[in-house]
C-alpha cells in the first residue's frame, strides 16, 4: 500500500467500504445466529465465534494490510498468534485438569 496514487484513492475508498459492509453483514449474521433455534449451546458458540473470526480476518487482512507486510512483522505476528493459541489451549487443559467441584 506504500505506492498509493491520488488516482487510486476513489477505488481504495470503495474497497474500504466493501470491507466495512462485510463486517456489518458478519455482525448481523452473528446476531441472527445467536437467536437461531440451535439446541446445542456449544455448537452455537462455536458458530458465532467462527463468524467473529471471519470478521477479524477481514479487518486484519484488508485494514491492517497484513498480506503486504514485511517478513519480520509476519514473524512477530506468527509468534504472537502461536503464544495466544497456546494460552487458550492451556486454559482449556487447566479446566479439564481440575476436579469438577473445585471449579464451581
Amino acid at each position: 500500500m506504500n505506492d498509493l496514487q491520488p488516482a487510486d484513492l476513489k477505488q481504495y475508498t470503495r474497497r474500504c467500504f466493501y470491507v466495512f459492509l462485510g463486517v456489518v453483514c458478519g455482525t448481523l449474521t452473528m446476531v441472527a445466529a445467536s437467536f437461531a433455534p440451535i439446541n446445542n449451546h456449544g455448537l452455537k458458540i462455536a458458530l458465532i465465534l467462527a463468524i467473529a473470526a471471519v470478521n477479524a480476518t477481514l479487518v486484519v487482512t484488508f485494514l491492517m494490510h497484513i498480506v503486504s507486510e514485511k517478513r519480520f512483522v509476519m514473524l512477530v505476528i506468527s509468534l504472537t498468534l502461536f503464544l495466544f493459541i497456546a494460552l487458550m489451549a492451556l486454559s482449556a487443559i487447566a479446566h479439564f485438569d481440575l476436579p469438577r467441584l473445585m471449579t464451581h
Partner: protein, 284 residues
C-alpha cells in the same frame, strides 16, 4: 540530531522503527487481552448451572457499537490513505469522523454502564428474588417523616444532622423463585415487568449489577473497561494528530503520514478486540 529510520525502512527489518515498535506493542497487548480471555473461559465453564448471566446486555446497543467501531476503522484508514496521496483536507475530514465515532462509542458504553448501576437485585428472607431497575427508595428520618429518593442510597444515610433509614425500595422488574430464572431463562420466556415495592424488612440483601454482583459482571466490566481505556487512549492520540500534531504536515509530511499509519494500526487492534468481545459478552 535526526532520529534514524523514522521515515525510511531499516534494511534488516524492512519497516520503519515506529511501525515495528507498534507491532511489538500490539503483540504484548494480544497477550494482555489473552490473559483476560483465558480468565473469561475459566469463569464461564466453571460457573454453576444458572449462575452465568445470559441476555443481560443489550444486543441492539452492542450491534450498533460494533458497526460504529468498524466504520471508525475504515475512516482512520482513509485518513492515512489521504495523507499518502497528499490530500490534507481529506485527512482532516476522515480523522474528525474517527474522533466523532469513537466518542459516540464511549457514550453508548457509558449509557450501558449506567443502566447496569441502576439495575438492582433484591434477595428476600424466603430466598426469592426481585430483579429490576430502581424507581425510587423511601427513607424515614428520626421524626418518622418519609422522604422519597430517586436512587438507592444504602440502608441508612446521613444528611447534615439528619439520619435516614430505608423504609422501602420500588423496582420496575419481576419476581423470581431462583437465580436461574433471572440469569438463564428458558428460550422465548419473557418476564413481565411491573412496579414492585419491597419493604426494608423484606430485604435480606440488595445490590446493583456493578462489578461486584457476580463473576459475569466482574469479567464484563474488566474486559469492556480495559477496552474502553484503549479507545480513550487511541482517541487522544488521534485527536492530537488531527489538532496540534498536524503541524508536522508542513515540516515533515512523510513522518506525519507514518505517525497516522501507526496510530491507525492501534485503532484496528482495538476494533479487532471488540469483534471478539461483542459475541462473547452479548451473544453467547
Amino acid at each position: 540530531m535526526e532520529i534514524p529510520y523514522a521515515i525510511k525502512p531499516r534494511p534488516d527489518t524492512g519497516v520503519y522503527n515506529a511501525k515495528l515498535g507498534m507491532w511489538l506493542f500490539l503483540a504484548s497487548e494480544v497477550m494482555l487481552f489473552g490473559g483476560l480471555f483465558s480468565a473469561y473461559i475459566l469463569l464461564r465453564v466453571g460457573a454453576a448451572d444458572g449462575a452465568w448471566s445470559r441476555g443481560l446486555l443489550s444486543v441492539p446497543l452492542g450491534t450498533i457499537n460494533t458497526c460504529i467501531l468498524a466504520l471508525s476503522a475504515v475512516t482512520t484508514l482513509l485518513a492515512w490513505a489521504a495523507c499518502k496521496v497528499r490530500q490534507f483536507g481529506k485527512f482532516k475530514f476522515y480523522h474528525a469522523c474517527t474522533i466523532v465515532l469513537a466518542i459516540t462509542f464511549l457514550c453508548i458504553k457509558s449509557y450501558e454502564y449506567r443502566d447496569k448501576f441502576l439495575h438492582y437485585q433484591i434477595l428476600k428472607p424466603d430466598n426469592t428474588y426481585v430483579d429490576g431497575h430502581i424507581v425510587s427508595a423511601t427513607y424515614l428520618d428520626a421524626a418518622k417523616q418519609s422522604h422519597v429518593e430517586h436512587g438507592f442510597r444504602g440502608t441508612t444515610y446521613t444528611q447534615g444532622t439528619n439520619q435516614f433509614t430505608l423504609a422501602s425500595v420500588t423496582l420496575k422488574g419481576f419476581e423470581a423463585e431462583t437465580l436461574k430464572e433471572i440469569n438463564d431463562p428458558e428460550p422465548g420466556h419473557h418476564h413481565e415487568h411491573k412496579e414492585i415495592s419491597v419493604p426494608a424488612a423484606q430485604i435480606k440483601k440488595i445490590g446493583n449489577y456493578g462489578p461486584a454482583h457476580n463473576t459475569f459482571t466482574a469479567i464484563y466490566f474488566t474486559l469492556t473497561g480495559l477496552h474502553a481505556l484503549h479507545i480513550l487512549g487511541g482517541v487522544i492520540v488521534i485527536a492530537f494528530l488531527w489538532g496540534p500534531g498536524s503541524k508536522m504536515w508542513v515540516t515533515d509530511p512523510d513522518r506525519f503520514t507514518n505517525r497516522v499509519e501507526v496510530s491507525g494500526l492501534f485503532w484496528h487492534f482495538v476494533d479487532l478486540i471488540w469483534i471478539f468481545l461483542f459475541p462473547l459478552l452479548y451473544l453467547t
